[in-house]
């Protein structure tokens, strides 16, 4: 099924068999930006729910190894999302009707996103990135690129306050079904986070109660 927002994660780096050297996918300026936007918007409209796995890599300059977390994600239009981390710790976070619910070590906490602007900012950024619903976001300057396999949307924050959190966001979009397969968030320090989505299943029935953390 052609999807929109979320597509199976595709690897950006190709491993060279002879030299075992990682080679980065080459992106060039996109030729038909208007056509891309139209197709991505159309594909986005068809997605009502999504279930998938995710791998989150956090790259910190003082750490020799990446901090890798894995888990499962559920999404229901327009604004419900649930992340269940499985490794290296078990932890659940859900956005449900304006509230953030967290289950950590057996304890459930609830926060109102209206009273916690930082949570709201992070959550909105994540939901919009996962949705692919970012093309008309006035807070960013967009650069569109493409390779043989994927599209790349580079988002540079315009406001100084936005830049405090991220220096750049990169969305990798599959040519196959115009869905976001990877989200990369870069910080001015050079540290960055990459979240890759795999095993995506679209438009299954997801009850609202599945987004309630208990």
């Amino acid at each position: 099924m052609k999807g929109n927002n979320f597509i199976i994660g595709m690897s950006l780096l190709v491993l060279l068999l002879v030299s075992m050297k990682l080679q980065q996918e080459t992106f060039k300026p996109m030729k038909d930006v208007a056509g891309f936007k139209t197709k991505m918007t159309e594909a986005n409209k068809k997605i009502n729910t999504l279930k998938c796995n995710f791998v989150q890599e956090k790259n910190l300059s003082f750490m020799a190894e990446k901090v890798i977390s894995k888990g499962n994600m559920k999404y229901k239009k327009p604004d419900m999302m649930r992340l269940d981390y499985v490794t290296p710790f078990q932890y659940s976070m859900s956005l449900y009707k304006g509230k953030v619910m967290i289950k950590d070590n057996g304890k459930v906490s609830k926060f109102d996103t209206k009273s916690n602007k930082l949570f709201k900012y992070i959550n909105d950024l994540m939901i919009n990135a996962v949705q692919g619903n970012v093309l008309d976001n006035p807070d960013f300057k967009f650069t569109y690129k493409e390779s043989e396999k994927n599209f790349l949307i580079e988002m540079d924050p315009i406001q100084a306050t936005m830049k405090e959190y991220v220096s750049k966001v990169k969305l990798t979009v599959s040519r196959t079904d115009y869905a976001v397969t990877k989200v990369e968030m870069n910080e001015s320090s050079g540290d960055y986070t990459i979240i890759t989505f795999t095993n995506r299943v679209y438009n299954t029935v997801l009850a609202d109660e599945e987004f309630v953390v208990k």
């Binding site: 989150q56 910190l60 003082f62 967290i102 950590d104 009273s115 991220v166 968030m185 320090s189 979240i195």
Partner: protein, 193 residues
Amino acid sequence: MSSYKTSTEPTSGPEVPELYFKDDSAHFFRTTVNTYGKSLSGLLITKKVNDDTLKVTFMSDMGLKFFDLEIYKGSYQLIYCIPQLKSEAVMNTLVGDMSTFLLWPYLERKNQVLVVSPDKHEKAVVRYSYGDDFLFYAYETNNRLRKITYAYGKKYKKKYEVSYDEYNEAIPQHALIKHKKFKLMIELNLIER
């Protein structure tokens, strides 16, 4: 804490243990900071870079950083911080809390005195001078560190306490930092990797 009398016998207590930094590996804590109805939750990563530098980074579960600190001995450098936490008072508090929790000698601990606690669970309590203030280290049997109290003034008024529990192979899996003068509580759960 003013009721804690100086011990006449014995006169010395356990040394401050190295709970988390026996090697130079990084340590990960699921951490929740609660203050006046607001909360931040995520992953706290600490690493002893060398004998003079402690790295402390706190980030959301989705990877966005809340703050990034380098703590030395007697000073610190704020590498990065979100606007909501960017104040000298907040950072000084967090640096103090993290240093105490991680047993990092931000200031030199001096003048060790063994005191007697009225709490029967505290088998040994050692008081140190710490700058102009004091640190009380309370140990259970087997010299397990149970609690650290930061106190000030002639009557040793409590500023905050760090309590440790759920020990596994001599390492506490859970810790709680609780301030007495204002509403700030930090809960930390060690993640085994």
